[in-house]
Amino acid sequence: MNVIRYASAVFMVGMTVLAWAQQPPPLPDAVKMADALFQRHAYLGDGVDTEAVDAVRRDLREAERLLRRNATEEQQKQGADLMNTASSRLLALLQGLSSAQVVEMPVERTVVQPVTTLRLPGSSTAHLFRVEQGAGPARCVVRTIDLSVDAVAMFTIDVKEPGTTWVLAAFDRVPQGRTSLELTLAGAGASRLTMPIETMTEPHGTLNVRVLSDDSGKPCPAMMRMVWKTDGSDVRPANAVDLTQLFDNQGSATGLRKAQLGGRFSGSYWCVPGSFSMSVAPGEYEITVMRGAEHLVIHEVVEVRPNERVERTYQPRRWVDMRDHGWYSGDDHVHTQILSDRDARMAMSWIQAEDVRLANVVKMGDIYRTWFEQRGFGKAYRVQDQGYILSPGQECPRTHGELGHTISMNITEMVRNTEQYYLYDTVFDEVHRQGGLSGYAHVNADLFFVHRDMSINIPKNKIDFVELLQFANLGTTQYYDFLNLGYKVTASAGSDVPWGGSVGEVRVYAYLGKKKFTADRWFEAVRKGHTFVTNGLMLEFTVNGALPGDEVRVDDDKPLRIKAKAWGHPERDVPAKLDLIVHGEPVKSVVADTPDQAAIEVDFTWPPGHGFWIAAMAEGRDGTRAHTTPIYVVKPGFRFWQHERAEELIAKREASLAEVERIVAEAQAGRNSSGKEDANRPVTELAEQGSALLERVEAAKAIYADLRTIAAQEATLRKP
């Protein structure tokens, strides 16, 4: 008997849930209507609070999700309740819209209404109809009609159910001037209401825009976004640079570049090389103009009226000119093809728009092939214009499952020998012979097992720099491990466009002081380690007057004078915190007193002890980061390392070397790094080059063994 009762109860609950789930929604297609109103057609809701529409659409979507999933009885009930209340709120919003046109459906016959004239604000618009068809519940219908696709100008929208149907008919790409459309509302049975519609777009206006440099007052490139506020659509500036052609079908291969910036400035921008004039639909345009990290961003809403010409001149103001402080910006990782003057002009426009003084434009290779071809390398192939420089470099060798990616700057010819592809030192040596700089890419995220080759070649002093900041991500784990072993490595940054968002979204600043900016001097500053990396905030940092990358030799215990400053601008980003890092740990942290505090400064003394490395790191209110190359405090007879962790750090490096030995052994056994049989070129070449690579591993091991000995010797000396 109990079984029957239990089964009945389960059955009843099940039926209730089923009933809720199968119940017709109180306002069918309410989600589509709320989305359309919020995302594109907010102008229909004259005076309606868009936040209220957003709240309704979220509730509707939540309710829909609850009802759609295999939810519990309680969740189903919550979903039904939420759907009811949110639908009522949407209905109230719709009923409050004065722009809605009320139409009565005829009964079992066709009626042709007089011509309705719709004055459209531009080539895209929507019209809201409140269609009455006897008594019954309310529902929504959203239909988008793209007139560039639908060549025929007759459209039918079904409104078969009795009651009130809210029809949002959206028209995209409507021709200018007068267009005759025929919209038929197909009601129940034979009821038809045909509405000849004459769309009249407002005559276009003309928008003339020019951007001036804050330095010269002359027209200059800029990054720009234009949004037609009427429907929130992005408008491509007439002369936007077609960067796609430079990208070799790689990465995010489009001219609309997504800025990987914090909060307010995230979004997509076009590179505009100079002044432009274009015919635009009348209405308000939200224009955003950016010129890289050192400029304030201009936001302006511009109204363009029919047949009127609007002239706008924008001059993004510098909040800082780092050249006045002796620092010049660069991006070590820019992939663009440069095979012609036209290519060069496009790439130059981009770096000028982002105000990046020097771009290391890298041809990319792997063991099979190369991408992003260049006309040539060396000084003859540098492109210079108004204090901006494109300098050809390379990202090669690049191995993905083995040793990581390398970057080289200021080379005179591409260095690529696939028969020695895994012997990265051969490339580093040749690059240095050419007068260039060698480094590792993607160290911030330890991509592609780069720690393995770092373990081989950093102790041999073959490396100048590593990428510490990329894709808005500052990653210090690997960097600190090598610094903590007492190796000097310079901090650098690269956007890795077209995988990254835009040139200079992360940047490396090099210190030239009062010297005139040239590519050679910039590279020399990087070689000396006079750098910091940032995606927003600026940093200055000295120890006894020495710069990042310098060595401060101390013979006594006199405290060192440490000064650091992180600063920004309240309209961009301001520092929330400034840390002084010794051996990877903050020894001094200062937090901003107020949210809009433009700068944090520290000035303190610190004992030299047995030596150390010290760097400044800042974090911005919007999540931006900045980090200097360390200053190395060296006391005779001691390494500047984190002595107490030496054994642990050496063991880490040896573990990395063991990984190299393992992948070589796998390759020589005909297997790839995941242990599977593989006869592809990376495996056969690694097998072939394995013994030479292992010789290098042995040499690195010997260096680490020496470090152990040094650690033991220093242990005695370091005792108090």
Partner: protein, 219 residues
């Protein structure tokens, strides 16, 4: 009654079928020494305001994977990606996402609610061709009342985890909330025994209780 030869054949065929369909085989094939140009880029961004956390996921497909996906979209094989075909592809994606993308607040799985219709951006090549494309999806989640400083947010995904992934993460700040990324793996290789990829692990480092919609979070 089958002959011994037929039995051997059928056994071999079965073995071949099992091997071909096994995830291990598929993953090994995809993983082995692949180049950067075969990585799918996944960017996840989270922003928190008014008691809700918005999650946006952008996947950028490199040329050759894009070509495979475009062929998949082109269900009638005419080389043209019609609106219906694109809509069907996006619908499938949304369905898959509901099963394969998860968010956890302090280890408790929360319901991800679609915030916008998914977007397919074929970039500058709209046909079935080898050119990168991207998809964008957005969800939101109601922040639990118990969440605050020290709280942990994790986003997991099983999307294309049989392919190498490049993962980047962005956390936006709003109204006194700070989410510190505690894990951004960067690169992920397919793993036979780990179909789940942790896209984001973030910790809340500042919190204003006024941000939580108390009424809503009781749900």
């Amino acid at each position: 009654m089958s002959t011994p030869t037929a039995r051997i054949w059928s056994r071999n065929l079965l073995a071949l079928l099992v091997m071909t369909l096994s995830p291990a085989f598929m993953q090994t094939w995809a993983f082995a020494h692949t180049s950067l140009e075969k990585y799918i880029r996944q960017e996840v961004s989270v922003s928190m305001r008014d008691g809700t956390l918005d999650v946006r996921l952008q996947c950028v497909f490199p040329s050759d994977i894009s070509l495979t996906e475009r062929r998949h979209m082109d269900t009638n094989g005419d080389g043209v990606l019609s609106s219906d075909e694109k809509a069907a592809y996006l619908h499938d994606l949304q369905e898959r996402a509901e099963k394969q993308v998860r968010i956890l607040f302090n280890d408790k799985v929360m319901v991800l609610i679609p915030l916008e219709e998914p977007v397919l951006d074929l970039q500058d090549a709209t046909g079935v061709e080898a050119h990168p494309h991207e998809i964008r999806l957005a969800w939101f989640v109601r922040v639990p009342e118990s969440f605050g400083v020290g709280g942990r947010i994790v986003i997991e995904s099983e999307w294309w985890t049989d392919r190498p992934l490049m993962i980047s993460v962005r956390t936006d700040v709003a109204q006194g909330i700070r989410l510190k990324k505690t894990e951004a793996k960067g690169l992920r290789y397919p793993k036979q025994d780990e179909p789940v990829c942790r896209l984001l692990e973030a910790q809340c480092t500042a919190w204003s209780p006024g941000n939580v919609n108390r009424e809503r979070t009781t749900r």
